[in-house]
């Protein structure tokens, strides 16, 4: 199992203060419970470390596994979920099938009302692109154009933030 070998070393190296023990160098995964330090900075660093894990480790997590990853990131530093979304691959179905959206009502980019979104996209060709798709998911405090994959959200990221 080489997947987490080098990465676990890196994790231990820079998270040794914030996460103890994280992944021991002698074994890739420990049986003991992990503990995250109580400082906000440490939890934030740990959360973004997990985002980096998705970007840099040679893995293709299934939607259910993305859900677990999102759950951990949510506990460490909730705002980092927004960053996680930016790095989900549209072709892997990770956004729409993982259920992450169910817990994203608090995020700024997804709490914009329909009028706000239409204002933002006014005059852009994207507006007509979206209208090509028939499925639009509307939830309380959550306005999301469900085009079946996550590329739509990639638009939302930059256009709506912060």
């Amino acid at each position: 199992m080489t997947l987490f070998g080098p990465f676990s070393t890196a994790l231990n190296k820079h998270l040794s203060v914030s996460v103890r023990p994280f992944i021991p160098k002698s074994r890739y995964i420990t049986d003991s419970l992990l503990a995250i330090a109580d400082s906000e900075d440490a939890r934030m660093t740990s959360a973004y470390e997990l985002v980096d894990w998705l970007r840099l480790a040679d893995v293709t997590p299934a939607p259910a596994e993305i859900s677990c990853l999102a759950s951990a990131i949510r506990r460490f530093h909730h705002p980092a979920l927004k960053t996680l979304l930016q790095f989900l691959h549209p072709s892997e179905g990770q956004l729409w099938e993982s259920g992450i959206l169910d817990s994203l009502e608090e995020l700024v980019l997804l709490t914009l009302g329909a009028k706000k979104i239409s204002d933002l996209f006014a005059g852009f060709a994207l507006k007509s692109t979206l209208s090509c798709y028939s499925t639009i998911a509307v939830k309380p405090n959550l306005e999301m154009y469900d085009v079946g994959q996550s590329s739509c959200v990639h638009f939302f990221h930059g256009t709506c933030l912060p």
């Binding site: 080098p6 890196a10 970007r55 040679d58 997590p61 930016q86």
Partner: protein, 275 residues
Amino acid sequence: MEWEDWSVIPFHFILLAPMVSLFTASSSRTYFQVLVKTFCKTGVPALYITLRRLLRRVLTESVLFQEDPDEVDLWLASLPLGSVRRGSNTEAPDGASLTDEVDAVVTFLDDCTQRCLKTPYRYMEAMSELLQPNDNDEQFADAVPVDTQTEVFSSPLLMTVLEQLLAKANGRLMSPSEALSVFTFVRQLVVKLASKQVDMGYHALHAFVRKFEVPVESGGFFKDYPSISRAIRRELSITKACLGHLGVFPLRNIQQKNNDSVRTFLDRIEQALVR
């Protein structure tokens, strides 16, 4: 004048900004670089809004965005706004040092901005050549001709980014971490630029992305850092998937792998106690 105190200098500078050129250097950095960096990192809404207005005004009045001033918003939105916060001595699985993403992108963009301001017409010509590739260019043998009436990149700065990213990554003039940060920025930018294209085939953007394909897919960037090289390929893949999905191209299904290992890893992470 030193620019280390980010909490004080920007407010002070904003008052002076109309009187000086933002592209003038102070020490080793330009005022533009200082402001963009603060824009990316500030957590103060009032400062963010003020800087956004200032940057927007300065950029829209420059030759960079004279064709379409509204495009500035897409560029600013593509910046890593407080995105990834890394601890010190962070490393990728391949040992590459991971550094601050904002620093990497802002430094790169500042360099590109200055280059483009010096010779904007050179980059406008480069854009024309990109949109109308030579028939003998094998790389673009299957490319769909771009209708320049409906598809156009307004800012020549995009061509500067293309030129400089390829040059700096090829020449190892930027670190692996910096290159990944800039590729992430380019990915965000390209997908956002799709929102201003009238033709939903996004042929112009595909032509732009193809320029990166050969060196990236062949593993030409940072071969000795496989994690970074793979992450850059992933950025390109996401770019193409986004453009493909928004356009008419079918998505490919990616095979999942190593799921037992991933599952085990995530199980352990899930058990972590937050004190």
